[in-house]
């Protein structure tokens, strides 16, 4: 563990850090890549519809099955396990489906990616147009302060906020008003900073479609005089989000920012098979960031191929959180503190001058 250059972080995408990141060359920089022979990479990149169709059938069947359980056992305690399963499938596994289909790598067939992407975006209360662009920025400028629109835990960390994220309340409080605002035709300056002008009207149209479904659901609930429609559509974004947060926070939390090497700012964690199904193998997150062309089902193979060049993965989520907790506590006082990833002796070194870059130099 180490400390880096003293810098006050301004996480806005149109502020001082943005200017500094552009001026120091951290924005849109060349990132480190592990060398993989073209032939091997081509094999890993190959797309097929089979694995994603299989997984999507299981996913939809489990969603419909648990929804049926909720309807059937509504009003009794037996509804609880069904709510639990439905909530995680709706509020958490939709995130990885959104992610993988947004990359266009889950299915070989483009329309299949698009259909699942739009369904999952709706489940997550994410504007499918806005988030497609924010995620492109996240890959270009991963954890570059002032550039990355998807930094989950900023420094110094707000631990209360991080804890509340597990309940989904904060995200809900952000996502719903954002959709309403966008449905009324207003995009924020930050959103406009990464959504190209020619795509901005599409973001408004998408928000209107989402709002139309929510309004219909509320009307249905009022007509039925029951919470049931809302528990099935919309509210799982609250009560089922915890698994997405539990796995997603680990992607980058506590690691270096403002570096252009995913081995240093991204984490790979070995996980149990159920979490891996929910998360669609995104636990191999360093691998995904270095090679976003590799579909989720080929990530374990990619991991085997390049692990000699990556830091040791955390053997479990528990291990990763135990490792990161003291780092977060320390960051409360020293926001420049971070967990420095050790590269194995077989790894190619990282160019240190990027790592120690002093953003204040641009001021």
């Amino acid at each position: 563990m180490t400390t880096a250059a003293k810098t006050k972080r301004d996480y806005s995408l149109v502020g001082e850090s943005t200017r500094a990141a552009i001026e120091t060359g951290l924005a849109s920089a060349e990132w480190y890549h592990t060398d993989v022979p073209r032939k091997a990479m081509k094999e890993l990149m190959q797309r097929s519809d089979g694995p994603a169709i299989r997984d999507t059938i299981i996913w939809i069947a489990a969603i419909l099955g648990s929804a049926a359980g909720i309807v059937w056992f509504w009003g009794s305690w037996w509804v609880v396990p069904f709510l639990f399963v439905y909530g995680v499938l709706y509020g958490s596994s939709s995130d990885s489906r959104w992610h993988e289909c947004g990359h266009g790598t889950a299915f070989r067939t483009r329309w299949m990616n698009d259909v699942v992407y739009h369904i999952a975006s709706f489940m997550l209360m994410r504007n499918p147009v806005q988030w497609r662009w924010s995620h492109a920025r996240h890959h270009t400028d991963t954890i570059i302060v002032g550039r990355d629109a998807e930094i989950a835990v900023m420094r110094p960390p707000d631990l209360l906020k991080a804890a509340l994220a597990f309940t989904g309340i904060l995200d809900f409080r952000y996502s719903l008003p954002t959709l309403v605002r966008q449905a009324f035709g207003t995009l924020s300056e930050e959103e406009k900073s990464y959504i190209p002008e020619m795509e901005q009207h599409k973001a408004v149209v998408a928000a209107r479609w989402h709002m139309a479904v929510y309004v219909a659901t509320i009307a249905f609930a009022i007509a039925l005089e029951s919470w049931q429609p809302l528990v099935l559509v919309g509210l799982p974004r609250l009560y089922g989000t915890w698994h997405m947060v539990m796995t997603g926070l680990l992607q980058h939390i506590g690691l270096a920012d403002n570096v252009v090497d995913h081995r240093l700012n991204t984490r790979t964690v070995y996980m149990n098979p159920i979490s891996r199904f929910i998360y669609w193998n995104m636990n191999y997150h360093v691998e995904h960031h270095i090679f976003p062309m590799v579909p989720y089902h080929a990530l374990p193979k990619l991991h085997e191929l390049i692990k000699h060049d990556l830091p040791e993965p955390n053997p479990s989520m528990w291990h990763a959180y135990r490792e990161v907790w003291p780092v977060l506590l320390r960051q409360l006082k020293y926001e420049d503190f971070y967990l420095k990833r050790e590269l194995p002796p077989t790894a190619r070194p990282y160019r240190g001058e990027f790592h120690e870059v002093d953003m204040s130099a641009a001021e």
Binding site: K42, M45, G104, R108, R110, T140, E199, F291, M293
Partner: protein, 103 residues
Amino acid sequence: MADWVEACAVDDVEEEDVIRFDHGGRTFAIYRSPDDEFFATDGYCTHEKAHLADGLVMDDIIECPKHNGRFNYKTGAAKGAPVCVNLVTYPVKIEAGKVMIQI
């Protein structure tokens, strides 16, 4: 009149694949389609700076390695976000086992 330049040998490009070709300070991508035809486009993605030759050819699509943006490499047409701007394409001919492009 634009010049024809030799880009590579026919056998340098596998079927349904792409390679990079640098010439005169510019970078091009040379494609061989699954039905054994050759095509050429600018070598960089129009979204950000990424070499299309590191991407994946699927039928008539080249997928960019950086954000998975897709183009039809035969026409240069952008096929959806995050790419919005079409690729420039170049005429290609085969002469004595060499791939020639007109630039």
